[in-house]
């Protein structure tokens, strides 16, 4: 039996077993490889996606759980080809080295800003605390998030 959900704004049907991790479904069934597979145990944040606007580790979400829900991956953040301001900030400030953690970092930052439009530096650090950057390029990542704040309406 298939599972229906909205993936980046499009209603899709996934045919994998309902206990398959969402991460695997996104990558192997829908070929959206922007969501990265890191530790597969919820410790690295590389697989973050938005589930109804809340950041979750897609490696720890079972396909059956998302019936009727809305999933947004890194591929779904742009609007009609125009990058989200978080994506632009990461690019402009060079907030990446190897790039593997970047999609997860951007989703974490996006989720943080959706729920807290004007985070302090400490709040940004907590918001990104579930994401590991093995290149240790954290400083630029935090700066990228901070660079957006002046352009956001109160």
């Amino acid at each position: 039996m298939s599972t229906s959900f909205f993936l980046n704004g499009v209603l899709v049907e996934a045919t994998s077993n309902k206990t398959t991790p969402l991460l695997k479904v996104i990558r192997d069934e829908f070929f959206l490889t922007g969501t990265k597979s890191g530790c597969e145990t919820g410790e690295c944040g590389a697989c973050l996606v938005l589930l109804d606007d809340i950041a979750v580790n897609s490696c720890l979400v079972l396909l059956g759980e998302i019936e009727g829900k809305t999933i947004t991956t890194i591929e779904g953040l742009n609007k009609d080809g125009i990058l989200d301001q978080v994506q632009v900030a990461f690019a402009e400030l060079g907030a990446l080295q190897c790039g593997f953690c970047t999609p997860g970092m951007i989703i974490a930052a996006k989720a943080l800003l959706m729920h807290n439009p004007h985070p302090t530096r400490d709040e940004i650090l907590i918001g990104l605390s579930g994401n590991l950057c093995r290149c240790t390029g954290y400083e630029q990542i935090v700066e990228a998030v901070e660079s957006i704040l002046p352009y956001r309406t109160k």
């Binding site: 077993n17 396909l63 059956g64 918001g127 605390s129 994401n131």
Partner: protein
């Protein structure tokens, strides 16, 4: 990996009657943050995975007579943001914020943290220290179990196969001072090396009327350090008293050495942590 089956439930009656009639072993879950890891590592024997997350009756944080009741589906994110909890039990809000990462807290529940029964659970240690009771329901029974009876040994609980945790009950009490503390290798996503709580009820002369000291990751289950509580009870909080507590704590716990820390370090730091809470209480922090 063998194929498992997933079922989602939308009412308490439906899941309880299923639990009652199932002959096979099943695995209950809500946030899936522990079960998801165990599934990946092939540690789930049950073929049936039962999702409780869509049961509306299992949501809610409320006060009922003498207890604060947290329903089983409430996540650590919601618990840490709840104004009632921030006001009555700020230590629980703080402990909730130290679990995993934001994305884990969005899904992980206190009920699941308790049921996993790890000796180092950050939500669990607060429930332990505050003498919470676990509400368990089956199709024809309902009972409240003291948490120290519910968790008998590491990763083992008193839950019967036909039962579901429906809520956690915290006795309401006016603590003058209450703190959750934790030592981990890093702040996020690190299992506690030692965690614990200290709660004090002081009269206006700083006499200790009631006290709770609970420590995690120093024994197979979380523990209360009752000897230290007895030592403090009835005495006036002072620098001298605080300076005596660390050795009492150290003499009453027997932690082990593991991948995260040595027994000696755990013993030493446990004494320091409890002493530090008393000093903070003395300074009115």
């Amino acid at each position: 990996m063998q194929k498992k089956h997933y079922m989602s439930f939308h009412s308490l009656e439906a899941i309880l009657s299923k639990l009652n009639s199932f002959q096979q072993q099943c695995c209950l879950f809500s946030g899936c943050t522990d079960v998801g890891v165990m599934l990946r590592n092939g540690l789930i024997k049950a073929e049936l995975l039962l999702d409780c997350k869509n049961i509306p009756d299992l949501y809610g944080i409320e006060i009922n007579n003498s207890h604060l009741i947290i329903k089983a589906n409430e996540s650590f994110s919601r618990i840490s943001n709840n104004s009632l909890i921030k006001k009555i039990f700020p230590l629980l809000a703080n402990a909730s914020l130290s679990v995993g990462s934001p994305a884990i807290r969005n899904r992980a529940t206190l009920a699941g943290n308790i049921n996993t029964a790890s000796p180092a659970g950050d939500g669990l240690i607060v429930a332990y220290g505050l003498e919470a009771k676990i509400e368990l329901k089956s199709i024809n029974s309902s009972r409240l179990v003291r948490i120290d009876h519910y968790i008998s040994k590491t990763k083992t609980t008193d839950r019967r196969d036909d039962e579901l945790i429906t809520a956690i009950h915290f006795p309401l009490k006016q603590w003058t001072f209450q703190k959750f503390f934790k030592i981990g290798k890093r702040n996020a996503l690190a299992i506690s090396v030692v965690n614990g709580i200290v709660a004090l009820q002081l009269d206006k002369n700083k006499m200790i009327e009631d006290v709770r000291i609970a420590l995690g990751a120093v024994a197979p289950t979380p523990i209360r350090v009752k000897e230290a509580e007895l030592f403090l009870k009835g005495k006036t909080l002072s620098m001298e008293l605080a300076n005596n507590i660390d050795n009492i704590i150290r003499s009453k716990i027997s932690p082990i050495t593991d991948i995260r820390a040595s027994a000696n370090y755990r013993k030493y730091i446990s004494g320091v942590l409890v002493k530090r809470q008393l000093l903070d209480a003395l300074e009115g922090q």
